[in-house]
Amino acid sequence: MFGLYDTAFGALSWGNILMFLIAGLLIYLGIAKKMEPILLVPIGFGILMVNLPLGGLMVYTPDGLPAEVPTLGGLIQAIGNGEIGLLNVLYTYGIESGVIPLLIFLGVGAMTDFRPTIARPISFLFGATAQLGVFVVFIIAYCSGLFTANEAACVGIIGGSDGPPTVYLTAALAPKLLGTITLVAYSYMALVPIIQPPVIKALTSKKERAIFMKPQLRQVSKLEEILFPIIIFIVSALLVPKSMPLIGMFMFGNLLRVSGVTDRLAQSAGGVFIDVLTFLLGLTVGALMPAEVFFTGQTLAIIGLAVVAFALGTAGGLWAAKLVNLFLKEKINPMIGAAGVSAVPMSARVVQRMGQEANPRNFLLMHAMGPNMAGAVATSVVAGIFLGMLM
């Protein structure tokens, strides 16, 4: 400007301008349409921050990876010299290290009511079969030649529709895709009410959708609620050790909620604590999407494959519920299996709405919440299995 300093206009590219439009769309969807606003608004703003040139909030290497953050001693100097920005620090210490997604999962656990899952343990089976989309999309992504095995696993896990395991796995296996995968995962979670109904309708008859289930689940005792997170944590950590950080945090958060003596901790974990972490995650993830990293063939492929993952996950849960019905005297409504894709609580709400459309006497919400919560556990197990096999 007047030869005194550089303005950013000259450094703007068409890619940056396109990213502004994407950022604007995300902020609009978050604010005006209330679609996942607590994530889409920070992600949108993060995209703006990183696509305004010369700001230096997030510095990239020529390979498209965030610049490496030096050890604590050199940190201040590196920021001062413009070698890294504030968001590089948040990315390295918060996301790449796995700290933020894990702590968010603690908060999620503190907000989770596992009683529907405890009352009907077969929910875990629906949560498991709803991971079908994850593995099929892994095969498609890997065989397409566009992704390595590590990247394909991260694309597949979008189908688990659970944020923290997706971020945790991608930060470990495919950090370059973290921004795109997180954005697609959270955007599609908001689109569950649009993606799931056609799949459910295609795979069930009206008679099946109208199957009546008694609204009341069995009573779960306080002791059972307390023992559940401890037992599930120990068993899953022994079966899939790499899932221990995720399930450990999830179950610890839940124990705070149900213990009856740590209400203040549970309220903090599920309140301001998770809010702060969520906007730090959103902002940093948004900043992982400079135009040169976002506009690739991989991004388009991820957007397409994620729909397939969600649809197949829905189908997997439904098919398992239909299979179980062959052996049950008192039939369950197969739609509750579709809630195994997690996306808490959206997919359970979809099942509730479709159940009432088919049979106004039906109240399926609590029945669907069981597979919904089991789906969150299942996605963490899958993340652990991928880490164990591919790291």
Binding site: I118, F124, F135, A378
Partner: protein, 51 residues
């Protein structure tokens, strides 16, 4: 170049391991429920007899 052994290991083995792990978790939760319901039912019996 597609490494089919990776596909088989990760997709086949991974999905199988997921199902197995979740079936075991399901059993653990079911056994927990069973024990809890039995221990809850026991003290109620003498109370019913008292009446």
């Amino acid at each position: 170049m597609i490494d089919w052994s990776v596909v088989a290991k990760v997709a086949g083995g991974g999905f199988g391991a997921t199902i197995l792990a979740l079936v075991i978790l399901s059993l653990a939760a079911w056994i927990l429920g069973l024990i809890m319901q039995k221990t809850k039912a026991k003290p109620e019996e003498p109370a019913a007899k008292d009446k």
